[in-house]
Symmetry: C2
Subunit: 902 residues, 2 copies
């Protein structure tokens, strides 16, 4: 058994923002606010270490209870109330708070300390029996849900029935005596369900609540959230125990949440929502639609003013946009929480850029602050306005613009349906009355989220923004019946499967699938990107197989093409038959003729790309996949031949016989090309060695295109890349043949075009023998998809559906290695190849063109091992620019701290 020697409880006065790991974010910042002299109700925090001890030993550390008692006594003194005292009862809130903010994921209990006796005291103190009984009602419900594991819904049903019997709608309309009856029913439910009475002793309530928070660290919702956010399960949560203040003591009370700037747009103006005569949970739960904070200025200018100053003070103090929770108790402001605010990509960019202008942070700080993954939102498609105009479509409803970006998809009403439909290849929108934590997996599978209730800080809005999913929330014109599977707007009814388009930037909802278009890198975004370019040393190229993608990437700041896959061009409908002829013929002349036809179209493809790239380097990979990818399906042919054989036997006839012969010949040809493990078979350079005509044709097409474009006055920098090399001899053989072709074509035209021959490093052996390979290769490009496949021995197609997802869930792997480079295995090969390759060829240009080239963590690794550039899909180019800049800044900071001997 572990032992804990450290101090387990800290009063807020003893805490500060640097103690995050020990006290959680909430506790550390409550401490910091206390230190700043802000109006924080007194309280204390139980450390994450106590939680870790609990997780390991399934019991609280011995010393804990004593420490809590001491801290509680200090709190009693400050508020001049006593815990469990019927006369002046002290009530507390118990809240979890991990080092990393996990909104909506952990559980909270308010009004703890209430029982029949203290309730009387509360009635006396507040002079409001309705308030006191309502507080008790909430407490029993929350406590029973969190601690006693009795679903909230069962209590809500009792309360709803009571309201219905009374004929009232609002909670506040229920008189005290009815609330007392409801509370009695609640306690009866507890007794019936658990076989024991609801605990009345405040100390018992408190210790049970603390344990429940510890337990809740490992509940399923928390685990799912942590998995999605990459948060370690080992951290544990702190517990904050704080004297209650009440926002629901009357109309001079209230509660709210606010951001010091708009978390959606980034606008520099206090932004938030509040409700008068309500407790905190009423705002975030979306039960009542809250009021914009601006109205508080009218309603209570003094409080508003005070709050503005607090916000400003905190922003200056934390140098960042802050997310605040406050309560007004009888006209007095209390700060209940502050934390760095979550924000959309657009807001992150705007705030970062504006804060530099305000002198709040530096450019480097701005660049380091924006999460690369958030940019993805800015690169989300938006509605193509001309398509909308052309179609004459207008919005059927408008809700809150809760998470920006447009999304098109079919309606689904249930999270599980979203997951299933997505797995079946459908794009869906999750449409809910409101969402709750049980819907998160469905939100992650949806293109966008639409809710009828809840504000911009509702669950749906917060989660959607966090994950960069477009969201329209609180769209009150919608009448959603999830059970029936209908969404009614006015007199029209929509069903599951119908298409909608959401605009999370404006809040508009369209009953049609509109065309979307990508975003531009302009304004603040452009500014931030230009700062990134000042800091980063890693080049950013793009993977593009056609002029359209190339142009998009250039618009996003790509500095060249790192991977142009030539075989995609073969799949186009007009070319596939020629490619098949080329593969299937045994006649050398027929093959030559097919290649000649392909050369013409390939040359045109390359011309288009070279024109767009306008002098930037273009790395073209020669044909890579096995030839059978271009042939008809083996399975279909087996079926056809079997059918035709039966038909020939039963019916006979010349036509059937002839067709059978043809299909049999085709089947034989397909069979010949078939492989047990095509990923590791006859492809890449192997194909080029066994069938050199194809790559010679491609080289001619590349060089002829280059000549033509050059003759039109545009610079061209082709880099011809030979894939799947595992042995230096493969490279030297093919390179020798192709260089001859290139020289011949150039000599014939009498034009000089600079060109390079290089290779992919995607076979482990290529990395292991990089020193040899670099003697022939003028550049390396890491094909980390295949390199990962072979280093792990994973066929991605098989591994992902069959075991890789389970591996990540079971923590066998920390991450899917096809998404983030496995630094210790695959990365070791990469590092070694760069080092040894450059030893053999100083200054050898090294890049990466696997999908990892667009993953921020992998980009940081690429910076670390000294790659010259990363190449990624056009839409990830800005992300890569930012990630590259952050990597450079981080490395610089590391060097600086090393230099200063830290």
């Amino acid at each position: 058994m572990q032992t804990v020697n450290a101090k387990l409880v800290y009063n807020f006065e003893e805490a500060n923002a640097s103690m995050r790991d020990l006290l959680g974010g909430k506790g550390a910042n409550l401490g910091e606010m206390t230190q700043l002299g802000l109006p924080v109700p007194p309280g204390f925090t139980i450390t994450t270490e106590a939680c870790r001890y609990y997780s390991a030993n399934n019991a609280v550390p011995e010393a804990l209870l004593g420490e809590i008692k001491v801290a509680l006594a200090a709190m009693e003194k400050k508020v001049e109330k006593r815990f469990g005292d019927p006369a002046r009862p002290l009530l507390v809130s118990v809240r979890s708070g991990a080092a990393v903010s996990m909104p909506g994921m952990m559980d909270t209990i308010l009004n703890l300390g209430l029982n029949a006796e203290t309730l009387r005291g509360l009635v006396a103190a507040s002079g409001d029996a309705r308030f006191a009984w309502d507080a008790y009602r909430r407490f029993v419900m929350m406590f029973s849900d969190v601690v006693l594991d009795i679903p909230k819904a069962r209590f809500e049903k009792i309360f709803t029935d009571a309201k219905r019997a009374l004929g009232v709608k609002l909670d506040t309309e229920v008189p005290a005596e009815h609330l007392e009856k409801v509370c009695g029913d609640f306690r009866a439910l507890v007794e019936k369900t658990r076989g024991e009475t609801f605990p009345d002793d405040p100390w018992t309530q408190l210790t049970l609540a603390v344990e429940a928070v510890f337990r809740s660290w490992n509940n399923d919702r928390a685990k799912v959230y942590r998995k999605n956010e990459g948060i370690s399960d080992a951290m544990g949560t702190a517990v904050n125990i704080q004297a209650m203040v009440f926002g629901n003591l009357g109309l001079d009370c209230g509660t709210g949440v606010a951001f010091t700037r708009d978390p959606s747009t980034g606008e520099n103006a206090l932004y938030g929502e509040y409700l008068m005569n309500a407790q905190g949970e009423d705002v975030v739960a979306g039960v009542r639609t809250p009021i914009p904070l601006a109205e508080l200025r009218v309603e209570n200018p003094a409080i508003y003013d005070e709050f503005c100053k607090v916000g400003e003070r905190l922003e200056q103090h934390f140098h960042d946009m802050m997310d605040l929770e406050f309560t007004i108790e009888r006209g007095r402001l209390y700060m209940l929480q502050c934390r760095v605010g979550k924000r959309t990509g657009a807001a992150a960019v705007r705030m970062a850029v504006e804060m530099v202008g305000e002198g709040l942070i530096t450019k480097a700080g701005a660049v380091q602050r924006v999460k690369p993954a958030l940019l993805d939102q800015l690169l989300h498609p938006r509605i193509n306005e001309s398509d909308k105009k052309k179609k004459g479509v207008t919005a059927i409803a408008t809700g809150l613009a809760a998470s920006p970006g447009a999304a098109v998809g079919r309606i689904v009403f249930h999270a599980n349906d979203a997951v299933a439909e997505k797995a079946a290849g459908q794009k869906v929108l999750l449409v809910r009355e409101e969402t709750n934590p049980d819907d998160v997996h469905g939100m992650l599978s949806a293109e966008g989220v639409l809710t009828a209730r809840g504000g911009k800080t509702s669950h749906a809005a917060v989660v959607a923004r966090g994950f960069g999913i477009p969201c329209v929330a609180g769209c009150e014109d919608l009448h959603i019946d999830e059970e029936a599977g209908t969404m009614v707007v006015g007199d029209r009814t929509y069903h599951a499967g119908d298409f909608l388009t959401l605009d999370g930037t404006t809040g508009a909802v369209y009953a049609e699938a509109l065309a979307l278009e990508p975003a531009q890198v302009t304004g603040d975004f452009g500014t931030l990107m230009s700062w990134c370019d000042e800091f980063r040393t890693l080049g950013v190229r793009t993977n593009a197989d056609n002029p359209r993608d190339a142009a998009q990437a250039i618009a996003f700041g790509a500095q060249g093409i790192g991977l142009c896959r030539t075989e995609h061009m073969f799949f186009e409908a007009d070319r596939l038959p020629i490619v098949r002829d080329m593969i299937l013929t045994n006649d050398e002349r027929q093959r030559e003729a097919a290649l000649a036809k392909l050369e013409v179209v390939q040359q045109a493809d390359f011309e288009g790309i070279f024109r767009v790239m306008d002098g930037l380097p273009v790395t073209i990979r020669l044909i890579d996949p096995p030839l059978h990818e271009f042939l008809p399906s083996f399975e279909d042919l087996v079926k056809q031949v079997t059918e035709l054989k039966l038909a020939a036997n039963v019916l006979g006839g010349h036509a059937i016989e002839q067709l059978l012969d043809e299909k049999q010949a085709l089947l034989k040809a397909v069979e010949f090309q078939r492989e047990s493990n095509p990923m590791m078979g006859m492809r890449g350079v192997r194909l080029s060695i066994m069938m050199p005509g194809l790559v010679k044709m491609q080289t001619r097409a590349i060089m002829r295109a280059a000549i033509k474009v050059k003759q039109a006055g545009i610079e061209v920098l082709p880099e011809i890349m030979i894939p799947l090399v595992g042995h230096i001899n493969e490279l030297s053989l093919v390179k020798g043949q192709l260089e001859q072709v290139a020289r011949e074509v150039l000599a014939e035209a009498g034009v000089e075009v600079p060109y390079k021959f290089g290779t992919m490093i995607e076979i482990p052996r290529a990395a292991l023998t990089a020193d040899q390979i670099a003697t022939e290769a003028e550049f390396f490009s890491f094909g980390t998809n295949d390199l990962t496949q072979m280093t792990f021995g994973y066929s991605r197609d098989d591994a992902e559906p069959k075991f890789l997802k389970s591996y990540v869930d079971m923590k066998v792997l920390d991450a899917n290695p096809f998404e983030t480079v496995d630094q210790i295995g695959v990365g070791r090969l990469m590092r070694l190849a760069v080092e040894e390759g450059r030893k053999a060829r100083p200054g050898l240009k090294c890049g990466i063109c696997g999908e990892h080239g667009g993953d921020p963590e992998s980009i940081a690794f690429c910076h670390e091992i000294g790659l010259d550039y990363v190449s990624c899909s056009p839409f990830r180019v800005p992300i890569a620019r930012l990630a590259a800049a952050q990597a450079a800044l981080k490395a610089k900071a590391g060097e600086a701290s090393q230099a200063s001997g830290e």
Copy 2:
């Protein structure tokens, strides 16, 4: 252009055995014999450097002709004849001779220097016009074949026609005037074919012949031979020019070849064959059947005695068995060649052991001398005598026991047929009247070779011994008509496709497929093996999946099982249905039931193996292949379902519908298990993680078997091996579960059995993270088959037929990496894994269980990187013991030479 400054021609007096690389083996040893004062006709050698110059420049070095002239003049002086002198003409032989002996592969010209005028001188000098014209006939034919590229067969036809017209059979029966006519016809054929007269000028003849030898270095036969023997194409050949001595000047003349010991059995007795009145080519070509050398003792005791002394002298000098060529000219012995003799595996072993006894070499020398690959012959199956007796089979004919070992196969008459049939999976015997170099590829594809003509030094015999293929030669009772495809023995006719059994150890031929059985390691073989065990430090284990193989391996000296594949046990007919049930069911209870059934049989399997291994370690690999390997063929099911669907549509009926349903369900299940790249899919440890029941069952079966065998008083050392680990977490997860099973089973029985859990290192990532993996693995076993597949990115099944053979032919790869470990790529991973694994777990046991464990070159590498053992198939255990000893001796020699500062 390269230049050559060195001396290009060496007289035999200037040469010695150490100049092999420069003068070729033949030239160096002719020099050595000359230095020893043995009777060698004078001559000189043109260096291999001249040949290399020729290969590079397609022209002889300028200085060469001058040097030849000087050397020729010296020769003329010694023999008191002159080149081109009509009165006392000097005739010479021109022979190639590379540094490494290449029997029958390079071309020879005898009697060079003859023309109309010198012929008259030869007639006068020999007093034998028939002899002189016959010499001219041979010269014209050889020269035309080698230099002028006119096939020998066209000349032979002219000669055969002439003999037929004369009604004679033997060449010696053709009178001089007819030979003159034949020579005229020969010259006419040359003139007609080449458009110019046959060269008469001896100097022209000589220079053309030298060039032809240089050219012949790159002829196809030579290339094929070199490829098979792993000889570098870059070495080049020397050319030996030597004064002719004649074995065909009359009955006091003769020629022969001999070995100082029997190359087939190793017996220490002069062994050879000769022909009186013949030239050397007559002996080796198999035209006349030569006489055993023993008869020379009777016919010419003085010469025999002299020759015996020469043989003894040479053996003492070279410390090895020598292969000699000699000619007797008018009662005088001349030595034409000596070289270390090729030998069978049996002979190599016996000679090595006996020479130690004779004090000629040391034990270490004996061990180092025997080529590991040769042992394969000793391990060749022999005829199972009881099967032969039971079947009452007797030999249909008996020939010469030309290459030991027994072979069973179907008759083929043509080399190409042998290749084609082998490719089709047939075992064949190549049956020929006699073989020639054009048959080599067919011999390599055959289980054995049978010829009707030729002695033990005939082409068939020499080549078969060289490659370790059983051979019966000179089986004169056979009448073979290759064109008709028949072999007649007595009154029975055999056709292509009929079965024969050959016994190359006795010379017997049986007209039936007899059962074969393996050899034993006894006698000299046993002695040599015991010496190996004294020197080697590398352990030798075996790959065995059943008690039979395990027993065989123990008999061959295996020290344990390095790889016991458990899945092979699943393929047995009585088990496969249970395995299929286990895979296909979705019902957990049904699966448990199937596993329970399998556990019983697996336990019995393991008991059998543990009993045989009697306390030696047994490494058992848990299930490795993907489950679909146990299911019916997808293709067959597609066909069946397609047929049944049609039948159901056309005919209908309950039975068809039901069958269709069943097959469709099965197809769906098979489809579910199907993978794009099964080699890299759901198998090995991945399967164990996703479906732990299977390996838990296996672990239970292993431990229960171990307990039972231990209770019977036999020690057991199970080493449970988890395959396909790529990440430490995979290993720790599965190992954790299985250790628990093992402990439970042992606790239940109350028995202690030592056991280990280890892993295969076969995924590149496992090697790269060996330091982590070694923290969990108690041993490593390199699965170099998969490790090679993944490091190269080769699927062996696809690569070998599609490009790997071409890669080796085209020299893209030096060797097939599945046969010999790729030291720089795969080997680097292995070295790294051993080093880093042992850093994490000092003394970590490391072995290899891939096929490379039986390859001598790979074994040497395994020694070098410090493996503890190699594991190979039972029949390769002795080879591995020898290779391991040689590796240890070589390393010791290396250390010694380093220590002495060499």
